[in-house]
Symmetry: C2
Subunit: 164 residues, 2 copies
């Protein structure tokens, strides 16, 4: 109690293209991260793995290596834009180290693995990592992570009427 500023914590925030995750990050910045702390904030984006079927277009033709490379480049650009947007939200943190990570894979696996690998002290995430249909089928990402990760997990839902 009162020793927040004395300890170094690794706070892993899962970000994605949705406003939920940016809201979760903002909430975390306001409520968990102290200005004077020596926290390290790690912004993690899980880049969706390229599905096998994208190697062929709808007519059954194989995409050329050129197109595949373009798609790959696009995916990397999207990832960079997302972590950059998240990083901008953290610009007012003076004493907090902000790192970004982009890992390829299913968000559920990537997040749980990175919590373990990086030794995160707390995982922060929004509630909706998937759309409503996928969510109904396989459950939310946060739900999955809450079951798997061993560290404290903060799940932040975005109120319907608020801005990120």
């Amino acid at each position: 109690m009162g020793d927040v500023s004395e300890r170094e914590r690794k706070i892993l925030v899962a970000v994605d293209e949705g406003e939920e995750s940016l809201y979760a990050l903002s909430w975390c910045l306001r409520n968990v991260i102290s200005q004077n702390s020596k926290d390290t904030l790690i912004l993690l984006y899980a880049r969706p793995p390229r599905p096998i079927y994208t190697a062929m277009d709808g007519t059954g033709y194989l995409f050329s290596a050129d197109i595949m490379a373009t798609m790959e480049r696009h995916s990397r650009d999207v990832a960079a834009a997302i972590v950059e947007k998240a990083k901008k939200l953290c610009k007012d943190l003076n004493n907090v180290k902000v790192e970004t990570r982009v890992e390829s894979g299913d968000a559920r696996d990537v997040i749980c693995e990175m919590v373990e690998k990086l030794g995160a002290d707390v995982l922060v995430m929004g509630c909706h990592g998937y759309g409503p249909i996928k969510r109904a089928l396989i459950g939310s990402v946060s739900n999955h992570c809450a079951k798997i990760v061993k560290c404290p997990i903060l799940i932040v839902k975005k109120p319907k009427d608020s801005a990120a």
Copy 2:
């Protein structure tokens, strides 16, 4: 950011007889509550509802009113002891108002209802509100609450080798 001390937050912590919930409270005190904040910390205990079958003993005889009253008193004593133990953990908080609430009912319903009723800004709870069998049957309390409550929820798991 940096405005934690200026805002008043209602932090609802669900406590029960398990060490998990006390660990969650401790973690919250160390990591979320700032010494200088004007937070209100509400310690909530859901007192299990008296099952109908306790009106009869194993041989089918009805318990007397005396025995029923004794059991009721015992349940209230247990509740008081639990919230008292939780309150002791908060004794070093100078500027934080600590309130206690005991509500009768299933923990899952009580917690979700009180979050709504009290307008909590964040819900903090341990992971295991039920034993392993009940948990396997109906899922964990935290899992349920994470789906229902609209405010941010912090689920803290107790590491196997740590004290509360």
